[in-house]
Symmetry: C2
Subunit: 301 residues, 2 copies
């Protein structure tokens, strides 16, 4: 079957770790050792987040004395697709030598009239104390918002409307190639009079993954995160991981934006559009996620 | 026929221009307007340089206070593949909407025992006055060398041995997809006990392009630069562009490393290996390059 698997940011970087290249590449190798188990008998498409990475490159670009203005987020996002795509490509080539692997630069269509452009919500880069965050916001023209105990930069995150490279991703995957794509949700682009142009924004990688999974006709969508699944009764004594839940049950709950919320929304969209199963869970039992014995399976009924 | 075309750095940036994203993207659109003419009746693979771009990202990474050490050149090169690949992909998608375009992260195999590792020669980044260059070398652990009137950082540039993603590039191109790949000569990797790992180096994009063109069985290799072709009698009153020249004639001349030298060497390698024609010339008459009416055509006999 055709599986679309999204790697969360924690597959590249644990909270509190420095964004050293070696650390991230090490995590990628570990993550791919798990993902490789999915390849037996299946076609695989791998997507990935880029929040911390694009934040670092944005900061470096903003601090570059040569540049009058920092590179926009479409360009920075493309840089992270190259970098993370390379790490994943190399690790997949090593871990699954019998199969061909590719990493594709991917553009994702957005609507320039999306309300997200007037209400930025997507966290990028590091957390700061409030005073430092406000100072950075003032000097760089950022928007910032509270993320847990810290403050982080927020960027407009419009709805993904179309994965421009979806057809070639599907064709490659269905002939057995392991495809890395839609990194960081894809490079945001708008289409005007038939012409694509980049947009200074970021796209939620889980929402873009759901759009990809729907458009390629995936049999299963796997959203990998650093928790065991969707928690019912979070922060109560009765907290437990939901094993199977319907879209209607999930839709009746609310989840914080920026963490589990987009995963739940993405899983619901995939299941609603296809009638097939989506699963949210941890990478350390990836076969259990596929078999439905670990993680939270989201189903139609 | 299958054409492999390499875009020189000047297709992205003119000498003296700042590395602003907008400027580069503008040049890419202009370059692609020319390349698009090659698509009618032909299959096309586009490679590109990344010298100034990887130099900028290396400097930003070296100046990043969060990082204990800058990212190595394999990772930085992959970032530029994403960025420049995105610009080319978007421009090709717009200029040739009837054809599918893709940009692939590409790894290029090198030998860890290559003598280049003890003798760095490849220029990256900007030119500086000698005093500033020596100061930067001392503070960053760079090697620097004179490039014309200025000094620039130099990095090890080992011989490309194999384009890891060559087979998928060829397969996509032969079915009509326009493929962007081998950016910056490819991400340098070594293979030990069958396992690929990144190497902190850069690869000459013309030499890597020749290797790709040979391995995919290209019918023609086009090396695009900012001069009209190979100049005979350079800096003499009799200076003229060679229209057709044999490998033996070219091999009997010497060319400066870092400018025309690698293009001449790459053209010779392609022609020697295939018996087919390579052409070196300017982008503004790209159909003339293909037809042999402009640029310098390198032939076997």
């Amino acid at each position: 079957m055709l599986i679309v698997a999204a790697l969360g940011g924690n597959a590249l970087l644990r909270r509190g770790e420095k964004l050293a290249a070696q650390i991230q590449q090490h995590h990628v190798v570990d993550a791919v050792a798990q993902l490789a188990k999915l390849c037996t008998g299946n076609e695989l498409i791998v997507t990935h987040g880029n929040g911390p990475q694009v934040g670092l490159l944005a900061l470096e670009s903003a601090n570059d004395p040569e540049l009058e203005r920092p590179y926009p987020f479409d360009v920075l996002g493309a840089q992270t697709q190259g970098m993370i795509g390379y790490w994943l490509l190399q690790a997949l080539t090593n871990a699954v030598p019998s199969r061909e692997s590719v990493a594709l630069v991917t553009q994702t269509l957005v609507d320039v009239n999306d309300p997200a452009f007037t209400h930025p919500t997507k966290f990028v880069g590091h957390g700061y104390g409030e005073v430092e965050a406000q100072a950075l916001a003032a000097s760089n023209g950022w928007s910032v918002a509270r993320d847990g105990a810290l403050w982080r930069r927020v960027v407009a995150s419009p709805e993904p409307r179309e994965i421009i490279e979806g057809p070639v991703i599907e064709r490659l995957a269905r002939r057995g190639t392991i495809v890395v794509g839609v990194g960081g949700g894809g490079v945001p682009v708008a289409r005007e009079d038939g012409v694509l142009r980049g947009i200074d924004a970021v796209i939620d990688k889980d929402l873009a993954t759901a759009l990809l999974a729907i458009s390629v006709g995936a049999d299963l969508m796997v959203l990998v995160t650093d928790v065991a699944g969707v928690i019912d009764g979070f922060a109560t004594p009765d907290a437990r991981v939901l094993s199977t839940v319907t879209v209607a049950q999930l839709r009746s709950r609310t989840f914080a934006p920026g963490s589990m919320g987009p995963k739940v929304e993405s899983a619901c969209r995939f299941v609603e559009a296809t009638g097939r199963r989506a699963v949210i869970g941890a990478l350390d039992d990836v076969l259990g996620l596929v078999e439905g014995t670990s993680g939270t399976s989201v189903v139609a009924h």
